[in-house]
C-alpha cells in the first residue's frame, strides 16, 4: 500500500496542534526573558508546558485513531514562511504523532526527574528554559510538513543540544564539547541543505505532499530527474542524518556530549534528538526507495556504527560514556532498519520508541547513581550498589534486560525484527547485526555488574542513598514501558499497520518467528556475552584503576581513534590553513596594496608620513576638491 494523501486538517485538536510547539516555546521565552524573577517556580512552569504539549499530543493521537486510514495524514498550514518557497505548516500523521508522543511523554518524565536532579543547581531555571526550548524545536522538527521547516527544527534542536551540553560553561571541557557537537552537526547540516536545494531544483517544491513516491518515480521515468540525482539526494540526506544521529563518520561528538547534565543525556542524546536522523530517513522514504544504492549505504552505515558503538561501549569505565557508546550502537540498528524499506521502517521506529524508554530509563538510573555517589562517573569506583538503592538498581536492570533482548522484553521484539528483516536483504549485514547483539550482551552486563554487584569500591566520602521519589517515579514509569512496549508494538504488526498511511505497507506482512536460526543465534550470543562479562566483572575482582589493556582495549577506549583521525585530517590542517590565510592576507594582499601605494607615492617614507601625519589635510583636500567640482559644474551649468 502506498502512503495516503495529505489532506487539509479536519479541525478539532489537530487544528490547534501548533500548541505542541507553542507551549514549550512560550515556557522557554518566559523563563529566559523574566530571568531570576522566575527562579522559584520556573521548573514547575517548564514541567507544566511539557505536560501541556503531551496532553495535546495525546488528544491529537486519539482524534487520528478515530479517523479512517485514508484521512490520517492531515496538514495544518499556519502561515507563509518564505513566500514562494515554504509555508510554516505542520503534518499530523501516524509517523509524526508517534514521535510527538515519545518526545512529550518521555520528555515530561525527564522534566519531572530534573526537578530533583537539578534541585541544588543555581541555574535550574535556565536549565528548564533550555529543556523547553528543546522540546519545542524537536516537535517542530517532527511535525513539519516540509523540509525547510524541518530544517528550522533540526538546527533548533542542535542549538538546544549546544546550550545543554555546555550548560556548565565554566568547565572548559563542557564548553569544548558543546562547540564540537554543533560544528560536527553543521557538517551534517551541510549535506541536508544541499539535499533540500537539489529537491527544490528538481521538483520545484520542498513540501512532503508534493514529494511522494509517485512523484519521485514519475520524475525518474519521465527523465526529469536522473537516477543519479535521486541517489545523491539520498546520500546527502544520509549525511545530515549521520550528523544528528552520531553515525559514522560523524559520530565523534556524542561521547563528548556526555559533559551535559545527565537528564540532557537521557532526553536529547539518547531518547529523542539523536534519533532524528532515523526519522529523516524514514520520512524521506520516497527518495530512498527509488535509490537502492543510497539505501544500501544507509544499511552499511548502520551496521558499521552498531558495531563501532558496541566496541566502544565495551571499554568505557565512565558509565555515561558506556551508555553513549550503546546509544550509537542502538541507533545503528535503527538506521539499518530504516535502510530496509517499509518493513524495516516499522521495526526501526518500534526500536526507536522502545529504546527511547529503556535508554532514558538507564541514563536517568545512571544519574540517580551519580547523585548518590557525589557525581562520580567511574564505574570502577562503584560496585555493590544494589543493596543501597534498590529502586534505581531494579529499574536499571529492567532497562538492561530490555536492551540486550531478553526474551519477551521490549528490545527482544524490536531488535529481532530488524535483524530478521536485514537477513532477508543481505546475509552479511544480518549476521554482523547478530554479532553486535552479542557484544551488547557483554558490555551492558559489564556495566550492570560493575555498578550494582561485586565488591564496594567506593570513594571514602561516598555515602550512597536512594534518590527522592520525584526521581524514582519517572524511573519506574519508564521501566514499565521498557518491559511491555516492544511486544505491544510488534505483535500483530500493530505499529506497522498504524504507520501504513504515512510510510506505506509492504505486500506481505512479516510474521513473528521466535525460533528462527538468527533469532536463536542472537540469544545464544547474548548469553555468551552475559556469562563472559560475569566472569570478568561479576565473579572476578574489578581493579579500581583501569589496567593497561590490550591493543584492542586501547582502540576502543580511544573511540576507535575517531578523534585522532579528525584531528589529523581536519583540525590541525584547518588551524594551519587559517594561520596561513591570516599571514597571506596581512602580508600578501594587503602587503601588495601597501607596497603599490608606496611605489606610487615614491618612497615608503612618504607613505608612513601619510599614515601618521598629514591625514586630516588629505580629507580636507578631498572635501575641497569635491566642492570645487560641484561648484564648477554649477558655474558651467548656469553659463
Amino acid at each position: 500500500m502506498e502512503p495516503a494523501e495529505i489532506i487539509q486538517h479536519s479541525g478539532g485538536v489537530i487544528g490547534v496542534s501548533w500548541l505542541m510547539v507553542a507551549l514549550p516555546l512560550l515556557g522557554a521565552a518566559i523563563l529566559l526573558l523574566f530571568g531570576r524573577r522566575t527562579d522559584r517556580w520556573g521548573h514547575l512552569l517548564g514541567v507544566a508546558m511539557s505536560l501541556g504539549a503531551f496532553a495535546v499530543a495525546v488528544a491529537a493521537f486519539v482524534q487520528l485513531l478515530g479517523l479512517p486510514e485514508a484521512q490520517r495524514r492531515q496538514g495544518v498550514r499556519l502561515y507563509e514562511f518564505i513566500p514562494g518557497l515554504a509555508d510554516m505548516g505542520l503534518l499530523i500523521d501516524p509517523l509524526s504523532i508517534s514521535f510527538a508522543l515519545l518526545i512529550t511523554g518521555v520528555g515530561s518524565l525527564i522534566h519531572i526527574y530534573s526537578i530533583g536532579y537539578m534541585s541544588h543547581d543555581p541555574g535550574r531555571r535556565r536549565f528548564f528554559a533550555y529543556l523547553n526550548l528543546f522540546v519545542a524545536a524537536m516537535l517542530l522538527l517532527v511535525l513539519a510538513d516540509n523540509y525547510v521547516v524541518l530544517f528550522v527544527g533540526w538546527e533548533g534542536v542542535g542549538l538546544a543540544s549546544y546550550l545543554l551540553i555546555g550548560f556548565w560553561q565554566f568547565k572548559p571541557t563542557a564548553a569544548a564539547a558543546a562547540k564540537k557537537a554543533f560544528i560536527v552537526n553543521r557538517v551534517g547540516d551541510f549535506g541536508l541543505l544541499i539535499a533540500i536545494f537539489t529537491i527544490w531544483t528538481t521538483f520545484g517544491s520542498v513540501a512532503f505532499n508534493e514529494l511522494t513516491g509517485g512523484a519521485v518515480d514519475g520524475a525518474i521515468s519521465s527523465g526529469d530527474a536522473s537516477q543519479g540525482t535521486i541517489t545523491a539526494v539520498g546520500l546527502l540526506l544520509l549525511l545530515g542524518a549521520c550528523g544528528k544521529s552520531a553515525q559514522l563518520p560523524l559520530q565523534s561528538w556524542l561521547l563528548d556530549a556526555m559533559e551535559g547534565p545527565t537528564p540532557v543525556s537521557a532526553l536529547i542524546h539518547a531518547a529523542t534528538m539523536v534519533t532524528a536522523g532515523v526519522y529523516l530517513v524514514v520520512r524521506s522514504g520516497a527518495f530512498f526507495e527509488a535509490a537502492p544504492t543510497a539505501q544500501l549505504v544507509v544499511t552499511i552505515v548502520g551496521v558499521a556504527t552498531l558495531l563501532a558503538g558496541a566496541i566502544i561501549g565495551c571499554a568505557k569505565d565512565d558509565i555515561k560514556k558506556g551508555l553513549a557508546g550503546s546509544t550509537m550502537s542502538q541507533i545503528g540498528y535503527m538506521m539499518l532498519g530504516a535502510g530496509l524499506g517499509p518493513v524495516g521502517y516499522a521495526f526501526a521506529i518500534a526500536h526507536l520508541i522502545a529504546h527511547g524508554f529503556f535508554k532514558a530509563n538507564m541514563f536517568l538510573g545512571a544519574g540517580s547513581v551519580m547523585h548518590a555517589m557525589n557525581d562520580e562517573v567511574d564505574m570502577r569506583k562503584y560496585g555493590g550498589l544494589f543493596s543501597v538503592m534498590k529502586v534505581t538498581a531494579a529499574t536499571f536492570m529492567i532497562g538492561y534486560l530490555a536492551i540486550i533482548g531478553f526474551p519477551l522484553l521490549s528490545g527482544y521484539f524490536t531488535k529481532d525484527g530488524i535483524i530478521e528483516t536485514a537477513m532477508e536483504h543481505n546475509q552479511i549485514l544480518g549476521w554482523l547485526a547478530v554479532v553486535g547483539a552479542g557484544i551488547t550482551g557483554f558490555y551492558m552486563s559489564r556495566m550492570v555488574f560493575m555498578t550494582f554487584f561485586g565488591k564496594r569500591r567506593w570513594a571514602d566520602d561516598a555515602h550512597p542513598h536512594e534518590s527522592p521519589s520525584v526521581m524514582t517515579v519517572p524511573l519506574i514509569l519508564l521501566s514499565i514501558g521498557s518491559v511491555f512496549l516492544g511486544a505491544f508494538l510488534i505483535l500483530d504488526n500493530r505499529l506497522m499497520r498504524f504507520l501504513a498511511p504515512a510510510v506505506g505497507l509492504p505486500e506481505h506482512l512479516p510474521g513473528f518467528h521466535p525460533f528462527s536460526v538468527p533469532g536463536l543465534t542472537t540469544l545464544a550470543l547474548v548469553a555468551v556475552g552475559v556469562v563472559y562479562a560475569w566472569f570478568r566483572y561479576g565473579a572476578a575482582e574489578v581493579p579500581r584503576l583501569a589496567p593497561r589493556g590490550s591493543f584492542l582495549t586501547t582502540f576502543a577506549r580511544r573511540d576507535l581513534y575517531g578523534d585522532a583521525l579528525n584531528e589529523a585530517l581536519f583540525m590541525r590542517p584547518g588551524q594551519w590553513l587559517a594561520r596561513f590565510a591570516v599571514f597571506f592576507d596581512n602580508r600578501g594582499i594587503d602587503g601588495l596594496v601597501n607596497g603599490l601605494a608606496a611605489g606610487i607615492g615614491g618612497t615608503s617614507g612618504r607613505l608612513r608620513r601619510i599614515q601618521t601625519g598629514y591625514v586630516r589635510s588629505y580629507a580636507l583636500s578631498i572635501l575641497f576638491g569635491a566642492a570645487v567640482v560641484v561648484g564648477a559644474l554649477l558655474y558651467v551649468g548656469n553659463m
Partner: protein
C-alpha cells in the same frame, strides 16, 4: 509631502542643532530625539509604500539641479531602497544610544576625549547621506552621496577610533577614493555615450547597447562597488577600518555603508549594463565564492574580536554578491534581504563587542574568558548576536542565506555547494570566539565586568527582537522586496528558473 527630502533634511538640521547646543548631554539627547523622528517618519513612509504599485519609484521628487548637464536632484524609492533606508533609520538611534559614552573618554581603552557634540553631529550627517544614497534616482546625485558619505565616516574613524586610527582612516579613504574616481569616470562616460542629456537613472536603462562599451562602463561601476562592499580581493581596508572605528561607527560602516556597494551592483550594474553583467557573471561568482570561504577561514584565525567580525562580514558580502549575480528571483530577493539582516546581525555583534571593550579596554580575544559566569546577560546577547552571524534558523539571517543559496543553486549548483561550506566555517569562527571569551573560569572579577546596564539592554533588546521576528516572519519585508527584485531581474533578460519537473509539465501542456 516631500517625504524623502524631509528624511534627508531632518538629520542634517538635527546635526546643526546638535553642534549648536551648549551641553554635551543635551547634544546626545537631541541627537537621539532627531534619529527617533527619522525612524518614525521612515515608519510612516514604509506604511504608505505600496509594494504592488506599477510605479517604479514611489515618493519620487525630481528637481533640476544643473540643467546644463541634466543633473537632477532626483529621489524616490522602490522596495529595495526602502528596506535599506529602513535599516539605516533603525540602526542610527540604536547606535547613538550605544555610543553614549564613546566620545567621553571614559571607557577602559578610550582615545583621549574629543568633542562629544561633533561625534553625534557626524552620526546624523552620516544618516542623511545614507538615506540620500539609497533614495537617489539620479546617477550623479548617487555619486555625490556615495563620495560625501566618506567624509563623516573618515572623521569618525580618524578622530574617535583606536590606537591605529589614522592609518585605518587613510586606508579607508584612499581605497574608497580610488573606487570612487573610477565610478566618476564611468558616470561621466555613461552620460556622454548615452547622449540623452540626463543623469536620471530610469531614462538611462537600456540605452547603452554596444557590448564593449557596456563592459568598460560596467567595470568602472563594479570596481567601485567591489571596493565598497568589499569583495575579495579588495577587502583589506575593512578589517583595519572596522577594528579601529568606535563600535557604533563600525556598525554603520559595515552594516550600512558597505551595503551601498552591493546595492549598487544590483541597482546599477545589472540594470544599466545587463549584457556586461552576464558576461562578467562567472568572474564575479568566483570572486564571491572565494570571498565566502576565504573571509571565513581568515576570520577563524583572528585574535582580535573586531577584526574577526570584519572578516565574517567579508564572507557575508560574498554571499550577497553571489545572490545578486546568480540572477534568479530567490537569490536576488535573498541578497537584498541579506543586506538588511546582515546590518542588524553584524550591528549586534559589533555593539556587544563594543560593550566588552568598553569594560575591559582590549579587543584581544585572549584577554577575555569566563564572562558568562560574571555577566550572563552580556554573554547571552553575545551568543544570540553570534548565532545570527552563523545564520541559525529562527533568526533572520537564516532566511536570507537560505534564499541566496537555494537561488544560486538553481543556476550555479557548484558555486552554491562551495558557498554552503560557509555554514560550517561560520559555526567554527563564531562558536570558537564565544568559547574563548565567554566560557571557562572567569578571568575578571564582577566589578571589572559588570552585566548589561539598562541603556545597553535598550540597545540590544530591539535588535534581538527584530532579528527573531524577521527570522520567523520574514514575509512583510519580502513582500516589499520581491516586486522590486523581480523588475530588476527581468530587465537583465535572462531565462527564469523552472524546476526540472515543472519544465516538462509546462512543455506537455
Amino acid at each position: 509631502m516631500p517625504w524623502l527630502s524631509t528624511l534627508i533634511a531632518v538629520p542634517v538640521l538635527g546635526a546643526v542643532g546638535v553642534s549648536l547646543v551648549k551641553s554635551d548631554k543635551l547634544a546626545k539627547q537631541l541627537a537621539l530625539a532627531v534619529s527617533l523622528v527619522v525612524l518614525v517618519l521612515t515608519g510612516a513612509l514604509a506604511y504608505l509604500f505600496e509594494p504592488a504599485s506599477k510605479e517604479r519609484f514611489q515618493f519620487a521628487e525630481v528637481y533640476e539641479w544643473i540643467p546644463r548637464f541634466g543633473v537632477h536632484y532626483g529621489v524616490g524609492v522602490d522596495g529595495i531602497a526602502l528596506v535599506l533606508i529602513a535599516l539605516s533609520a533603525v540602526l542610527v538611534p540604536i547606535v547613538i544610544l550605544a555610543s553614549w559614552h564613546d566620545a567621553d573618554g571614559t571607557g577602559a581603552a578610550a582615545p583621549p576625549k574629543r568633542s562629544v557634540k561633533t561625534y553625534f553631529a557626524l552620526l546624523l550627517v552620516l544618516e542623511a547621506m545614507m538615506i540620500g544614497v539609497f533614495a537617489a534616482t539620479d546617477v550623479f546625485l548617487f555619486y555625490v552621496f556615495f563620495e560625501a558619505m566618506l567624509i563623516p565616516m573618515y572623521f569618525m574613524i580618524g578622530s574617535y577610533g583606536g590606537a591605529q586610527r589614522s592609518y585605518a582612516a587613510v586606508k579607508f579613504l584612499l581605497y574608497s577614493l580610488f573606487g570612487g574616481l573610477l565610478m566618476l569616470v564611468a558616470v561621466i562616460a555613461l552620460y556622454v555615450i548615452a547622449d540623452k542629456g540626463t543623469f536620471m537613472f530610469p531614462e538611462l536603462i537600456g540605452v547603452i547597447q554596444d557590448p564593449t562599451t557596456q563592459k568598460w562602463l560596467f567595470a568602472g561601476f563594479f570596481i567601485a562597488f567591489a571596493v565598497k562592499a568589499p569583495l575579495w580581493p579588495f577587502h583589506t581596508w575593512l578589517p583595519d577600518a572596522a577594528a579601529q572605528a568606535p563600535a557604533g561607527a563600525a556598525v554603520l560602516l559595515v552594516g550600512v555603508l558597505d551595503k551601498v556597494g552591493t546595492y549598487g551592483m544590483l541597482r546599477f550594474c545589472l540594470e544599466l549594463f545587463p549584457d556586461a553583467s552576464k558576461f562578467f557573471t562567472p568572474l564575479v561568482i568566483v570572486l564571491a565564492v572565494v570571498g565566502i570561504v576565504y573571509g571565513a577561514i581568515v576570520a577563524i584565525g583572528q585574535t582580535d574580536m573586531k577584526r574577526l567580525i570584519a572578516y565574517t562580514s567579508i564572507s557575508h558580502f560574498g554571499f550577497i554578491a553571489l545572490g545578486v549575480f546568480a540572477m534568479t528571483k530567490d537569490a536576488g530577493a535573498g541578497a537584498t534581504l541579506y543586506m538588511v539582516n546582515h546590518g542588524f546581525s553584524t550591528g549586534a555583534l559589533f555593539l556587544v563587542a563594543g560593550f566588552l571593550i568598553y569594560r575591559r579596554g582590549s579587543s584581544q580575544i585572549a584577554d577575555y574568558g569566563g564572562v558568562q559566569k560574571v555577566a550572563p546577560l552580556l554573554a547571552g546577547t553575545f551568543l544570540i548576536a553570534g548565532l545570527s552571524g552563523l545564520s541559525l534558523p529562527g533568526l533572520s539571517t537564516f532566511v536570507s542565506e537560505f534564499m541566496v543559496l537555494i537561488g544560486t543553486f538553481e543556476r550555479y549548483p557548484v558555486a552554491a555547494i562551495i558557498a554552503t561550506s560557509g555554514v560550517v566555517l561560520a559555526a567554527v569562527y563564531i562558536l570558537w570566539m564565544y568559547q574563548r571569551t565567554m566560557t571557562g573560569p572567569s578571568k575578571e572579577p564582577a566589578h571589572v565586568m559588570p552585566d548589561l546596564n539598562w541603556r545597553e539592554i535598550w540597545v540590544m533588546g530591539p535588535l534581538i527582537a527584530v532579528i527573531i521576528a524577521m527570522g520567523f516572519f520574514p514575509k512583510p519585508v519580502l513582500d516589499v522586496i520581491n516586486p522590486a527584485v523581480d523588475k530588476t531581474i527581468s530587465s537583465v533578460h535572462i531565462e527564469p528558473f523552472t524546476p526540472a519537473v515543472a519544465e516538462k509539465k509546462g512543455a506537455g501542456q
